[in-house]
Symmetry: C2
């Protein structure tokens, strides 16, 4: 049996940053990670030539100040995401290049789309990120799906399709599954429509992969980090909490669970969690996303002055992007969110690849037909993530039990990107949540000492 | 280490009936139950004088043929639920008695309500219970909450309130949280609007509690039933499956998990469950219900020719009923579903009781003010049920991953009332699901033998 001041469950960016903050003020920390690696939903893989690809979260934007601080501290190198040239809007066999954020649709369609985005922006601006359920009209917005809102406010089919693709790509969930209040909260937490739903602020990628700072923190943690250590129970004991699993147990005065709520709910708690917190873990499932990369000798689409970004309105692969490292082989990334991810995940690997490559060919031409390498990740299959990018709120959850999201239960504190008030679902949110949980733990133990 | 032909996880009616069916054909079965009792979401308690009350499921209707067969076989005594007199419709300080199923509302309100119920009946009639996602218009009905459908189809506020109360009481979930397709499926699975949403077919209660047959089956099982045996893992091993927990392990060729999906998802599976099945366990949460009983010297409301049934449109306690046993003390039951259950559960016990009693006084007068006894159960607090009556489908789940609900994973089969095609959420559904899973297990092992 081991001891620590604080046990952190999970070594994604949230857990790592919580541990780092606690050690910085002299706390003894044990970080228990179920899988054999750090990073959580950040996962960097390598292709021939030792070039990296990020199978999980990968972007950093100018607004990601805490992530930027880590990047600065640990010296990770970034480069501007390729954006020279034209994006593509693909509808069936028709592809239309466009520059900037305004897709090439008829003026009427653009007008109704702009109106709807303006309404969304106005509604999102009202959200109190710390307490979205206090937003005026929250009950009504939470009692409808985003699909319902879009049907009412975007009666024009193509404009609605485009909005569905954008929201689906942002949250990795179908508009028919997610609460409109939750969509507004996510958009607000990511800086509004411009910051969140368009690609404007998504600006830099990592030369050596987005997990670089995570590995640097892991190296600092040394023995305090234990991989392959799945936690299955958190029990109250006379001297605090016992965090256990097949590995044995670690005892601590305080615990930070840095997992998405659904996975936190699979731990056995003794005493059991209060009803409302337990129901949050039942009612805040993970989104679903398949991320795939097709590797080519060179980024051939740049010859046609294309960015590699395509929005596809009728395809299983609604979003593609250029993930080519500077000087590296051409690399096209594809994101498949929501039910399409489940549908593709159920296919044999070769069929799935053929389907995604077919989509790349429709967007970028026959040169996309024969990738020299291929990588993919079905995040819902990952036993220690069980989905991605993040968890989402189905209708009725935020206004009923949303307040339990960050509320500590005794000496158990909750971190993870889902608990962030800003940039929830992003690496930035994960980092902020870990730092917030660490501060909470310190304040609580200070109170206990003073008390 | 122990062995059995089949391990059944969970000793609610589903698990017990699966085990019973398997033993009837000579299979060796081990039933592992996490709690210290059988019955699951059926829980009979006793009050002074040894009179029983059912804190969980309690009704049997004429259409519950499999439950009736058990009742017949084990000799449980039932009595007609008290229905002499008038029901009450309570709106704030105003209470209106009414006889039968038609509440005393202005003719216009009744007309729009009847129209909406007729539309619901017509939509429900189209549902293929084995595959609700194949229903014409399924995608659209699944992409909206029941709240959205009611707002569109019942613009009259009082009629809508009444429909919300009826649906809430049937599913223990707010209309703003549940898929309209799921509501239609539930109604169809319970015999249509008349059978499911009104009280017409809910006709008999158990003199000695609804758990009688469960205890009879448990007695037959003898040592094959192990209480206080929480299962935390199901692992593939060379000779089949190992079902484990702190108790040790039991090995078997086949396993029936007779738990609601959310609780089944808290077991660790090795190999891990496929993505779609795992997501079902994340996306099919439990409803929430608080059930309370106020006990009085005698059923005083009968003096006023009241049935004890009240529908309350503006109260935290929307539904009450008479649970008096023949010759026993007066007993009023109260059901609080959905978010109101969470709100009440968060209050101190005395305050919660005062609130519910206040509601009984508004319906049945000052004689309700001082119950001589009190019992209540917050089902979301029960660590081995974590909600009730059953699980529900938020929008977008049925049409995306609904098909995984009954699909065996290798030699793991799924039972539980949620998996029933008819009477899902009822004891009848639990029994049918257990018998179906047992048949499935027998067919699979026969195939394996023949193969």
């Amino acid at each position: 049996m081991d001891r620590a001041d604080v046990v952190v469950v999970g070594a994604g960016y949230a857990g790592l940053c919580a541990a780092r903050a606690l050690r910085a003020v002299g706390r003894e920390v044990a970080v228990l990670e179920a899988s054999g690696r750090v990073g959580g939903r950040v996962l960097t893989d390598r292709i021939a030539g030792d070039w990296v690809i990020d199978l999980g979260a990968q972007w950093i934007s100018g607004a990601h100040t805490r992530f930027a601080a880590l990047v600065e501290e640990y010296g990770a190198e970034t480069y501007a995401a390729p954006s020279n040239g034209a994006n593509l809007l693909v509808e069936g066999a028709v592809r239309r290049p466009f520059v900037g954020a305004r897709p090439p649709l008829p003026p009427l369609v653009l007008v109704v789309l702009a109106q709807a985005l303006w309404r969304i922006e106005r509604l999102a601006a009202r959200i109190d990120l710390a307490r979205p359920w206090t937003t005026p009209g929250a009950d009504r917005l939470d009692a409808m799906t985003a699909a319902t809102w879009l049907r009412r406010n975007l009666p024009e089919r193509r404009a609605r399709n485009l909005a569905e693709v954008m929201i689906g790509e942002e949250l990795c969930v179908d508009v028919g599954s997610v609460s409109m209040l939750a969509v507004l909260t996510t958009i607000r937490a990511a800086g509004g429509v411009e910051g969140g739903v368009t690609a404007e602020t998504v600006t830099r990628l990592f030369v050596d992969g987005a997990d670089g700072p995570a590995h640097s923190i892991a190296a600092e943690l040394g023995d305090a980090l234990r991989l392959d250590t799945p936690v299955t129970s958190i029990r109250q004991v006379p001297e605090g909490l016992s965090v256990g699993g097949e590995f044995g147990e670690v005892r601590a005065a305080q615990v930070i669970v840095a997992l998405p709520p659904a996975l936190a709910g699979r731990i056995t708690y003794d005493p059991p969690l209060p009803a409302a917190r337990d129901h949050l873990t039942q009612r805040m499932p993970m989104g679903s996303v398949l991320k795939a990369f097709a590797v080519y000798e060179r980024p051939f689409w740049r010859d046609d002055r294309l960015t590699g970004q395509a929005l596809n309105l009728h395809d299983p692969v609604p979003v593609t992007f250029d993930a080519t490292r500077p000087g590296g082989p051409g690399c096209l990334g594809a994101l498949v969110p929501g039910r399409a991810a489940h549908r593709l995940a159920a296919l044999p690997a070769a069929e799935r690849r053929a389907m995604i490559v077919g989509s790349l060919v429709r967007a970028f031409g026959p040169a996309a037909r024969d990738p020299i390498d291929w990588r993919e990740k079905v995040w819902a299959d990952d036993p220690y993530s069980r989905g991605g990018y993040g968890a989402f709120f189905p209708p009725g959850v935020l206004t009923t039990i949303g307040s339990t999201l960050r509320q500590p239960i005794g000496a158990i504190h909750w971190a993870g990107s889902e608990t962030a008030t800003e940039w929830a679902g992003y690496i930035e949110g994960a980092i902020r949540s870990g730092e917030r949980a660490a501060a909470e733990v310190l304040a609580a133990s200070r109170d206990a000492t003073v008390g």
